[in-house]
């Protein structure tokens, strides 16, 4: 079992408050990803769960038992560190065995577990090498192997892919996902890369400045971000934000005026918007299409990046930046005037506080 429950967890270093009222319930077997910009406290949160940092207030439960006072060694968790933290003076085999020897496990079982993990991770050929003689990807596997042999109740992974090159990162990401399916244990994964978060997670926890901004499945976060921060953080390239003013409120629709006097119709009901309210409208770059009709948004391109399968257009809309990703190859140059259409695109509305204007 690997159920982890955090209740009102707070952590401060002196006067610096790094975790603020964290409430989170991680179910057994779930793959949860903590994501957020650097310095948001996600690694600290992971370390408090691991027991490497003491919390200042609140409660941490693992399998319904309070573990606030339990040392890291006795929480039954295993951690994979960003730097891998392999013991450089020990062979791969000794690295894997170290934790098992410390819990005075019989030699035969240690050998068996190491053999099993080594086969699973395909590191059997270099069990007798030192970490210094391994490549980054191999070290990564050993670090994961060291966690697997412990058979922990939950795996904690602290930015495990950040030291790998782009290609290896993609393949290792897939392997971690496969590993999770195979082992079925709870995994908590910290990253600042939202692509990793989107591809791996059952649920994503978006954090900012020590607070949880939103918890949800990757598609929930993508389709219904709770606030401007989450909307901007999830999805690549980032969502476009345009200043808008409510021009008319009708039953089931809100009409907005954006820069240049363009009107946008947003289907929305059960809200408290009034005419004249200032809002922010968010449009994902992928939802913008090119239109031939001069009646739609007319913008001036600043930069056009042709990626082959898609074209990224950086444009200016009355002083506001607008990014569009359109499918295929387009004959557009920098400085050209083009017409964008957002007809049918999901539009996200955020109020003055940056919170999502929800449709009831």
């Amino acid at each position: 079992m690997g159920e982890i429950k955090l209740t009102d967890v707070n952590k401060s270093y002196g006067s610096v408050h790094v975790l603020k009222d964290i409430n989170l319930h991680i179910k057994d077997g779930e793959f949860v990803v903590f994501v957020g910009p650097s310095g948001c406290g996600k690694s600290t949160l992971l370390r408090t769960i691991a027991g490497l940092e003491k919390i200042t207030a609140g409660e941490i439960q693992i399998d319904r038992k309070r573990v606030n006072e339990t040392s890291a060694a006795d929480r039954g968790l295993a951690m994979v560190f960003q730097s891998y933290a392999l013991y450089p003076h020990m062979s791969v085999r000794q690295n894997l065995a170290f934790g098992l020897e410390n819990s005075s496990m019989p030699k035969a079982e240690i050998t068996e577990r190491i053999g099993e993990a080594a086969r699973m991770l395909e590191i059997d050929q270099y069990l007798d090498r030192r970490p210094g003689q391994l490549s980054g990807g191999q070290r990564q596997r050993v670090a994961i192997g060291r966690a697997i042999v412990r058979r922990p109740t939950a795996f904690l992974l602290d930015e495990p892919l950040s030291n790998l090159d782009a290609e290896l990162r993609v393949s290792t990401r897939a392997e971690i996902a496969a590993l999770h399916t195979r082992i079925g244990s709870t995994m908590i994964y910290v990253t600042h890369d939202q692509v990793e978060a989107m591809t791996l997670a059952h649920r994503i926890v978006v954090m900012r400045a020590g607070k949880i901004e939103q918890v949800g499945t990757p598609l929930d976060l993508y389709n219904e971000p709770a606030n401007r921060f989450v909307a901007g953080f999830i999805g690549a390239p980032h969502m476009n934000f345009l200043k808008a003013e409510v021009a008319a409120v009708e039953l089931g629709t809100v009409t907005l005026t954006i820069g240049g006097g363009h009107k946008l119709l947003v289907p929305l009901s059960g809200h408290k918007l009034k005419v004249g309210d200032k809002v922010t409208v968010g449009i994902r770059p992928q939802h913008i299409t090119l239109a031939a009709d001069p009646g739609s948004l007319t913008v001036k391109t600043r930069l056009v990046e042709a990626l082959g399968s898609e074209t990224v257009i950086h444009a200016d809309l009355h002083g506001e930046k607008l990014l569009a990703v359109v499918q295929g190859q387009k004959q557009i140059g920098s400085g050209d005037e083009v017409h964008f259409s957002v007809a049918g695109a999901p539009l996200h509305l955020f109020d003055e506080n940056g919170l999502r204007v929800k449709s009831a």
Partner: protein, 350 residues
């Protein structure tokens, strides 16, 4: 010319001599003479007889003036090469000297005295190594006893130094606690206090603890050295904290973290401290002299001082035994010097 010669003789300016080449050579040769000269002199002088040691002007190689037993004279006479009035040179034995004139005899015709001006004769000398300087102390002087005491003090003190200092360094580098920096500062501050200042209180402590006239009294007072703590702490700071976190997750106790993770990774710095400690302990003279008053407990350095008595100093024995006592330290340096260079570079200590 081989590759080595080409390497040594290469010059900055290609063919000609650049001034930096000259400065480099002068600097290196000067350095060699300054650093190595005294050691060479010591080694050669240790093979000189007492008479040769007192000779003026001194020589580097150990020369012995040749002597011959001449018929009609009880004692062996010294041989000289004398310039005869006719311009030839002859080997003569000196009988006595009166003022500026030496009375000499030809060993082949002992009856006839030849008067030679002092300036016209030079002693017949040959290089000869007085190995009895080395062999005699081993029989008369309790060299093996002193050697054992020195080895015991050096080895035990070095081991304790390494353990105690690395423990302090571990705590000061890897644990967060209030007063950590203050503790480090206080430890470093003791560097400013020379041994001579604390000698008397230290002596009374040792004496109260009953360690007077015991090798432990020599070993224990200086096992905790600020230099050692500093070298090791600076090195341990470079060990990533994630390694220690990983060990904690791996159920390692704090002792295991210290013993199985931190100590092996500190090996280069430990080697540096071990070398320093061996050299300090081996060469230590004043403190053992104070604590040890029984001959059978003397360390080598104290034992050597027996040769400088109140009335005469047996330089030939002192020099020979100094060479012997230098050997272990030199060996330690030869075999461990790569650790010194890498270790010192690694700790940022000069």
């Amino acid at each position: 010319m081989g590759a080595a010669a080409r390497f040594i003789l290469r010059r900055k300016g290609g063919k000609g001599w650049h001034w930096t080449d000259i400065v480099t050579w002068v600097w290196l040769i000067g350095g060699l003479i300054i650093m190595f000269g005294p050691a060479m002199w010591l080694a050669f002088s240790s093979f000189k007889t007492p008479a040769a040691l007192n000779e003026f002007p001194p020589s580097i190689l150990p020369y012995v003036t040749s002597q011959a037993t001449v018929q009609g004279y009880d004692k062996p006479l010294q041989l000289f090469e004398a310039k005869m009035p006719d311009g030839t040179t002859k080997v003569l034995a000196e009988v006595r000297r009166i003022g500026l004139v030496a009375q000499m005899v030809d060993p082949t015709t002992p009856g006839e005295i030849i008067k030679v001006n002092m300036n016209d004769r030079t002693p017949v000398r040959s290089v000869s190594f007085a190995t009895e300087n080395y062999t005699e102390p081993f029989t008369q002087f309790d060299f093996l006893r002193y050697l054992w005491n020195s080895v015991f003090v050096t080895v035990v003190a070095t081991l304790i130094t390494l353990i105690v200092n690395s423990m302090a360094a571990f705590a000061l580098s890897k644990y967060e606690f209030t007063g950590r920096n203050l503790a480090m500062f206080v430890i470093l501050a003791t560097l400013m206090v020379p041994l001579s200042v604390i000698m008397v209180p230290l002596y009374s402590i040792i004496s109260t603890l009953g360690m007077f006239n015991s090798l432990w009294g020599v070993i224990l007072p200086t096992v905790a050295t600020p230099t050692g703590v500093f070298i090791l702490r600076q090195y341990m700071l470079t060990i990533p904290d994630e390694l220690i976190d990983a060990a904690r997750m791996d159920k390692a106790s704090e002792w295991q973290i210290y013993w199985r993770i931190v100590l092996p990774l500190t090996a280069p710095a430990l080697a540096v401290l071990a070398i320093f400690s061996v050299v300090w302990r081996w060469n230590d003279f004043l403190w053992p002299l104070i604590v040890l008053s029984r001959r059978e407990l003397y360390t080598l350095q104290v034992g050597l001082s027996i040769y400088s008595g109140e009335l005469n100093v047996q330089w030939h024995f002192i020099l020979a035994m100094t060479v012997v006592t230098m050997i272990p330290v030199v060996l330690v340096f030869i075999f461990l010097q790569r650790f010194i260079t890498t270790g010192i570079a690694g700790t940022g200590l000069k």
